[in-house]
Symmetry: C2
Subunit: 425 residues, 2 copies
Amino acid sequence: MTTTTPTVPYTYAKSRAAFERALQVVPSGVYGHQGPAEGCAVPVSAYPLFSQRAEGTRFWDLDGNEYLDYMCGYGPNVLGYGDPDVQAAAAAQQRLEDVVTIPSSIMVDFAELLVDTVASADWAFFAKNGGDVTTLAVMTARAATRRKKIVFFEGYYHGVAPWTQKLDYPGVLEEDVAHNLVAPWDDLPALERLLAEHRGEVAGLIAQPYLHGNFADNRLPSPGFWQEVRRLCDAHGVVLIVDDVRAGFRLDLAGSDHHFGFKADLICFCKALANGYNVSALCGSDALKDVVSSLTYTGSYWLSAVPFAAGIATLTKLRALDAPALFDRLGTELTTGLVAAAADHGLHLVTSGAPALFYLRLADDDSLMLHQEWVAECVQRGVYLTSHHNHFINAALTSADVARTIEVAHEAFGIVRARHPELGG
Amino acid sequence: MTTTTPTVPYTYAKSRAAFERALQVVPSGVYGHQGPAEGCAVPVSAYPLFSQRAEGTRFWDLDGNEYLDYMCGYGPNVLGYGDPDVQAAAAAQQRLEDVVTIPSSIMVDFAELLVDTVASADWAFFAKNGGDVTTLAVMTARAATRRKKIVFFEGYYHGVAPWTQKLDYPGVLEEDVAHNLVAPWDDLPALERLLAEHRGEVAGLIAQPYLHGNFADNRLPSPGFWQEVRRLCDAHGVVLIVDDVRAGFRLDLAGSDHHFGFKADLICFCKALANGYNVSALCGSDALKDVVSSLTYTGSYWLSAVPFAAGIATLTKLRALDAPALFDRLGTELTTGLVAAAADHGLHLVTSGAPALFYLRLADDDSLMLHQEWVAECVQRGVYLTSHHNHFINAALTSADVARTIEVAHEAFGIVRARHPELGG
């Protein structure tokens, strides 16, 4: 690996020039998670916009600046970019076949491995996007119960299909969201009231294993919360769907429901499933298998063989590494160090969520401006954080990388502190 | 390439054994296009279920049987499985990066190439499934017009999102399809009446460039049809969306709207875009670019770099080959030969649709059983056809392959004819 000594703060002339070209031929230039319009990577001026190479826990932008990357492609990078074991498995499969008129039997191998690994999985159904399988889960709940309504928790994100969006979003109809019910997170009496009020009408409840939304501290469930949700779903005949697209395989290889001590009826995976090769999966209980079979649901690339080979290699290596324990240890080491670095400068950094998916916020900063300033200084010194989105740990991260990150963070806190004498102390 | 002398008719012991395993861990065992449940590959017993290798225009099933493949992965194989130029471009990009926290600038290169190639494209928005971009097109039409209704043509297929399905399909709500209006294909007075009846309510009209549905002859548009549809859409302020997911780049590299002499407002691509690497694209006019930017629409793998590299190599080679002319020539050679082979046995084979995507049916066979019998004999002799779906030509097919196909088809017609003395003649 090339180790460069970057000039800080970084500048982004080539990224900006490419973005000007992008604006000509792509709506928003760069859209979604990876674009400047989403609001999780602000101030925009502090961020590079295009990458040219990635390896392990690092990427290099178009201007040659190097980053310790704590976003991991917003999740897919779970073993390290270009992990050699995954690359070798994918390349070997690619030499044989990928998308063909009939699938490779490696599909069956991958399904068997998932069933063996994920506690609530009796079967697996493969697609491409996380949203393909959250949509399939909701359709399955509706088909199984012949009911219409779906319960969400406030702050939910389950993809971009119209049913997951809000009525005031462009292109969304009232009919798309007519049967969405929203309960506050971690509030059992409120959920109980909602289910009682809509008795016999609720097909499913869909939720991430804990609240890891943007622009707000991430919130773990209170002890016993999920067990009671499970009980309420059973009592009301509601299909319990866990959207593990973001947290899946980072908390627990047996599923985030297993991590929190309950069993989902359906569980959705995508991001960390194949270390950057594109596959998603809905897994679930035998009771719902025939319902899934009855639905009309398919896609051109859903049975492509290369992502299955990559998925087998990824899951096998995650198991061998006991990766969730590694992520927890590295995430704890990092967030503990960051909090101490902030304290050295009289600042209070709040960390939330699971250490493997840590969320950061500077306290006493309602405007979020101070936090953004600090993040901007980190990014421009080679530590890629976002300002208002949870982060991700991957298995290629080392304690030396963590130490380097804390060193950069320390310097960045010092710069912010010096710029704001009004903070006193 | 290994050339085997297969034992015919083929048998499928290993495919069947793998399918038994699949049934344990995957709903339906194999689902969708590639599975036996869809009904386009019947009789099921005549078909292999799993592949082990693919190259050029051929694949080999799990039992080692070799096929001349006229399904091309249901579209993605446009240059030949494992085309060396595409593989080299993809592998080179894979060594650099694929899905990273920020995209590779190769995204911009690919968007520029599409804008340069597709007549109605001022911009490109990338996703994964064809359905991702048909859904985006419909949301764009609704956001642009602040209207709700969408016009479809009878026999439509635009993916598997709930809005594309039918009310009697499991998991679909009346709200999902509440604003779908259906017009008969190629019937201008009927379309004119429908638009007049819903004046001011119709956001978009979405259609494949011609009717290439299953279980029915494919139907090209009458001369002047599309020009009049374009005029009606303009008169009613309706966004005209071409779903070119299936036919795209096989009829015309500038888009199937260009092939039929009109200009879509939005055009959807997927299958043939990157020779099996997974990417889809919505392209459209500058007038709708800001509307697309205003929507909430993204996915974890939508800006992955490897499919962009493959797409650039694919489109560049398709241009160099003048591939649509090649497909038309090979498809015509093949269908002419098949019709003649049928006639030799006193049978009438009807071909429909564009030669590059030919659809086959034996005439005077309302039950479709005779047709299925003939297809079964072809498949079991190494010519992979489906019974009730259009086929696909790829650029690796040679005239020698076509001649071999006609030879097999001839033998298969003879077998069917001998089995049915009641056909007389």
